[in-house]
């Protein structure tokens, strides 16, 4: 921990505060971020209502989860970043323990054995929490090291990222594993890892990918990659989802077919229309304009996230806030790019729009951390 760091920042960014701002600060909430999140949630529920064919119960359940998320966010934001920094290693340890527990008593759903059904708790996916815990640990680890990080720090960082990622891969949930790894990698990137190392790493990955494809990749992974390059090699099988999704998006045109009029979704041509492929429903019914509206909502949240990151008072907070913001973006982008056929299909939901449980709560924990970072530093007295 570094108190000089904190003092310098607090004096450098002093802004006169109104009474209202003071109230928000006392309850540790960032109004712009809150507004952005609520508008996104509302729009998400609106789209889900159509995507689920007017399933009110599903929409109500989603709204309740979002409400729970807001409460969770509020609770998280009450703790100062220093609290999380202090507890980062312990949380990481708990996270790993849960992942190991899943290996033994995990419950399978939708092909991935990633659920934990503990008595007295609602069933949840421990792997989701790692999306928060890993960047926490990385920020904790690198913030106290000289930046850009040295090679041995990078080495340990890699170990710390790869252990949970590997455990999640074993659960057969590659998508989440990638996200967990990325949330850690973002910290390393923001910490100033030399580009030379980054590009070497990317280059090495590219070189290794053929042998991965040949020797390690599972059939369904190969399929997804082949399908990405040519969806029509198996139009009714592996390529079906992406073909139908592109038809839905394209047939929406600029203005869309109108709310509730998406033929592709309402006639069940879009698979997973409530979850991973919900963007196709949105694009079909609201057209390009609808998608641009959603992107701008996301951008609003992202810009606020960047601002919070930029304004953060210490390196731990910066790294953490930056990683959370970039992970959020990564989620949004990967889902949209996958649904529109820009990248191969990876099973990831569209944040705050797709139907979900643990994944939504994880997002709100992230937002809570952002708010904590933004509202604690400045009010902390000398």
């Amino acid at each position: 921990m570094n108190s000089q760091d904190f003092i310098r920042q607090s004096t450098g960014f002093y802004i006169p505060k109104s009474r209202a701002q003071t109230i928000w600060r006392i309850i540790h909430t960032d109004p712009p971020l809150l507004v952005g999140i609520i508008v996104l949630c509302a729009f998400g529920l609106f789209v889900l209502y159509s995507a689920s064919d007017g399933d009110q119960i599903m929409v109500q359940r989603q709204a309740l989860i979002m409400l729970a998320g807001l409460v969770l966010m509020f609770i998280v934001s009450q703790f100062s970043p220093h609290f999380f920094r202090r507890w980062a290693p312990s949380l990481y340890g708990v996270g790993l323990a849960l992942l190991i527990l899943v290996l033994f008593i995990g419950v399978e759903d939708n092909g991935a054995r990633s659920w934990l059904d503990l008595p007295g708790l609602p069933s949840f996916q421990p792997s989701e929490t790692l999306k928060i815990v890993v960047p926490l640990l990385m920020a904790w680890y690198l913030a106290s090291r000289p930046l850009p990080p040295r090679f041995k720090h990078l080495f340990w960082s890699a170990i710390m990222i790869l252990i949970p990622a590997a455990l999640i891969v074993v659960q057969n949930d590659t998508g989440t594993a990638i996200m967990v790894a990325m949330s850690g990698v973002f910290v390393v990137l923001l910490a100033g890892i030399r580009w030379r190392i980054v590009f070497t790493g990317i280059f090495a990955l590219l070189l290794a990918s053929p042998s991965w494809y040949l020797f390690l990749a599972q059939d369904h992974q190969k399929n997804r990659i082949l399908t990405f390059f040519d969806p029509y090699r198996d139009p009714t099988g592996a390529g079906y989802n992406i073909i139908q999704s592109q038809i839905a998006i394209g047939s929406g045109g600029v203005y869309g077919k109108g709310y509730g009029n998406g033929a592709q979704s309402h006639l069940d041509f879009i698979p997973e229309s409530n979850t991973d492929f919900i963007l196709a429903v949105l694009a079909e019914e609201f057209g390009l304009l609808g998608v641009l509206f959603l992107i701008s909502l996301y951008l609003f949240v992202l810009v606020r996230g960047f601002y919070i990151t930029y304004a953060a008072k210490d390196m731990f907070s910066r790294l953490l806030a930056g990683s959370i913001t970039l992970t959020f973006f990564f989620y949004v982008f990967i889902n949209m790019a996958m649904v529109s056929g820009l990248v191969p299909v990876i099973g990831l939901p569209l944040p705050l729009v797709s139907r979900g449980g643990t994944a939504i709560l994880t997002l709100f924990i992230g937002f809570g951390l952002l708010m904590s970072i933004h509202t604690h530093g400045r009010v902390r007295p000398n």
């Binding site: 910490a191 100033g192 041509f269 992107i295 992202l302 390196m315």
Partner: protein, 664 residues
């Protein structure tokens, strides 16, 4: 600058961090930019193409089969109806695991291996992708609800209602009306492209009888509808529709009541009845016994039921006895006699002294008059043509046939439809055989021998004719030579059906019109000439017909025939044109028309009765003919013959004198 320093340089670190933040922001803009570009490409550049694809997904053009035309008898009784049934259908493209689905289905409803086998053969037919194919016909209400309850587990499986043929009279009309059944591959292939389109929604096609002959009229024109279907193939909305044009209703000459009477009259006997209205050629009744239930074929006969029908070699229920040939026996004698008169080999005065057998000059073999020889061992003594007919004297016709020669016989008999199919709309009827030198050389590779002519003269040997041909020939005599092709179809949609039948068959003209009267008189004697003091001077059918009904109010002209079912050469048995019963007793035949020799009214009905292994034409077939003419003239037409004499002026006054003479 970080170098070996362990101390943190906060300023530098923050600058580094901020640079990274800027880089990240730039990357985000870049990536979102590429995403928007991709969306633009899909939603603007490819919009039209993908819209069309979207419509192609959900919009399906499907056929709406036309309702098949109904078939009525001449009195408006329904002979072929359409009834709704519910079928289980499958859209193969929407079933993930066919075997599992079939397993599951068979746990819900009755699904035999037969059903699955037939379904597979339907699947192999040329079919439109995503079209539904019937898996099981005629679901019960309980089966329907079981499927409906579990429909979410059965993607691609649906219940569709359909109208199918139903034959209210069942086996009574099985042969004449025929039946519809599922279109098979060959039938589909034989259709023109246009017709194949027209049969797009049709599962059934006429296979036999009227259903086949008038398929074009009965089928109608297919309609179309544009429907919106969801991913599971369920129809969500109907968007556009071109109505089908129903097939036309047709009316037959057939009289169901007479048809029923004919079936009853045949009773348990195997045989056939064909009755024709001479003035129109309309077929009043056409019965082949035993029949079968044509309804079985409509929704796909089970192989068990089918094997029962085809393995019965004695009753051969699927075999249409009305249109398949048998030796006509003595029923051809009136025609041969007319030929003799017309070609002047004999006249009214000509007689032979019948010794009971016939012998060709220089040939020791005797052609016996087998009926008499076995019974009394003698001949008919002095016999003229009329006696030769009413006593059915073989010797007379051996002699006549021998003198006429096969060429003359062939030439004359062919004008009555022997060896030919005169029927206007029964194209499937066989032609039988009217032998000739050319025919024998062609089919046997042998020259014609004089002995062949002798056999042919009494309707044996190579001579083969169908009951339909015999009824037709009888109606030509009833019409005094006026040939009207026999036909089934009377009206289409209530309008008389009068296609331009090319008058392919010229009327039979004789040198002397009185020959018609003479033969009619002879045929009337067959039925009405009573016993007298003279030896063998009564009609062969008198004991069974006129004697049993002394009050008969009209005259029936007839000719019995008893044809040998055995003693036929192997050559004939192997001929393509001939089917031979496997039993040995003689076949009984009877041709007739009525009322005969009536000055007030022309003959109303001509018929042929055939009883397989019935032994005696006069005994077995004659009474059936009488029953049917009674039924038709007295019951159905309700002709009051006694009143007629007072009301209706005589048609041909000059012929009436001869009736009383023959009647004594």
């Amino acid at each position: 600058m970080a170098g070996k320093w362990q101390l943190k340089d906060h300023e530098a670190e923050q600058r580094l961090f901020n640079r990274r933040l800027v880089t990240a922001a730039a990357l985000i803009v870049l990536l979102f930019g590429s995403l928007v570009a991709k969306l633009f490409n899909l939603q603007v550049t490819q919009h039209e193409y993908l819209s069309a694809r979207s419509d192609g997904n959900r919009l399906h053009s499907q056929y709406v089969p036309p309702a098949r035309g109904l078939i009525f008898d001449r009195k408006g009784e329904l002979l072929a109806d359409n009834q709704p049934i519910f079928n289980l259908t499958v859209v193969r493209e929407q079933v993930d695991d066919m075997d599992a689905t079939l397993d599951y289905l068979s746990s819900l409803i009755r699904l035999t291996e037969d059903d699955i086998e037939q379904f597979n053969s339907r699947m192999q037919r040329n079919r439109v992708p995503f079209s539904s194919v019937p898996l099981r016909y005629v679901l019960s209400n309980e089966e329907k609800s079981r499927i409906a309850v579990n429909s979410h587990l059965l993607p691609g499986i649906a219940i569709e209602s359909q109208f199918v043929r139903q034959y209210p009279l069942g086996s009574l009309t099985a042969h004449a009306i025929g039946y519809v059944s599922e279109i098979n591959r060959q039938e589909l292939d034989s259709l023109s492209d246009e017709d194949r389109e027209n049969y797009g929604g049709t599962n059934h096609i006429g296979k036999t009888g009227i259903e086949r002959t008038y398929e074009d009229i009965l089928h109608g024109t297919v309609g179309y509808e544009i429907v919106e279907k969801n991913n599971r193939g369920q129809v969500m909305r109907y968007l556009d529709r071109t109505d089908p044009v129903a097939g036309k209703n047709i009316t037959l000459h057939m009289h169901a009541e007479l048809q029923r009477a004919a079936e009853d009259a045949l009773g348990e006997m195997r045989g056939a009845v064909v009755a024709i209205e001479p003035s129109t050629g309309g077929i009043l009744a056409m019965v082949s016994k035993p029949g079968f239930d044509p309804n079985l074929f409509v929704t796909g006969i089970s192989s068990k039921d089918y094997s029962v029908l085809v393995t019965d070699e004695i009753n051969t229920p699927l075999f249409d006895r009305t249109t398949n040939p048998y030796p006509p026996g003595s029923t051809i004698k009136p025609f041969l006699g007319l030929g003799g008169l017309h070609h002047e080999f004999i006249d009214y005065e000509f007689t032979i002294n019948d010794p009971g057998y016939f012998r060709l000059p220089g040939v020791s073999y005797r052609w016996g008059d087998w009926t008499l020889r076995t019974q009394i061992g003698g001949g008919h003594e002095h016999t003229d043509l009329q006696k030769a007919i009413f006593q059915s004297c073989n010797t007379f016709f051996f002699d006549l046939g021998n003198r006429m020669g096969i060429d003359t016989i062939h030439g004359f008999m062919s004008r009555f439809g022997f060896g030919d199919n005169f029927a206007a709309d029964i194209s499937y009827a066989r032609t039988g055989v009217l032998p000739s030198r050319e025919w024998k050389m062609e089919s046997r590779g042998e020259p014609w021998y004089p002995g062949d002519t002798i056999n042919s003269s009494i309707g044996q040997g190579y001579m083969w004719a169908t009951p339909l041909q015999l009824a037709t020939a009888a109606s030509i005599i009833a019409n005094k030579g006026n040939v009207i092709e026999p036909r089934m179809l009377k009206a289409v949609e209530g309008q008389p059906y009068a296609p331009v039948f090319e008058n392919k068959v010229p009327d039979v003209t004789l040198n002397d019109l009185d020959y018609w009267r003479y033969i009619e008189e002879a045929m009337t004697m067959v039925v009405h000439r009573p016993y007298s003091d003279q030896f063998r001077d009564y009609g062969t059918a008198y004991p069974e017909i006129a004697q049993k009904d002394p009050e008969m109010s009209y005259k029936l002209a007839g000719k019995s025939g008893t044809a040998q079912a055995v003693g036929i050469s192997q050559d004939i048995l192997s001929s393509d044109d001939i089917m031979v019963s496997d039993l040995n007793r003689d076949h009984a035949l009877f041709i007739a028309f009525a009322p005969a020799m009536n000055a007030h009214i022309a003959p109303q009905i001509a018929l042929a009765v055939f009883v397989e292994n019935g032994e005696s034409g006069g005994g077995a077939a004659g009474p059936i003919a009488k029953q049917l003419t009674d039924k038709y003239l007295l019951d159905i037409l309700q002709i009051d013959f006694e009143a007629l004499e007072d009301v209706v002026p005589p048609l041909e006054p000059e012929t009436s004198a001869l009736v009383s003479e023959a009647d004594e």
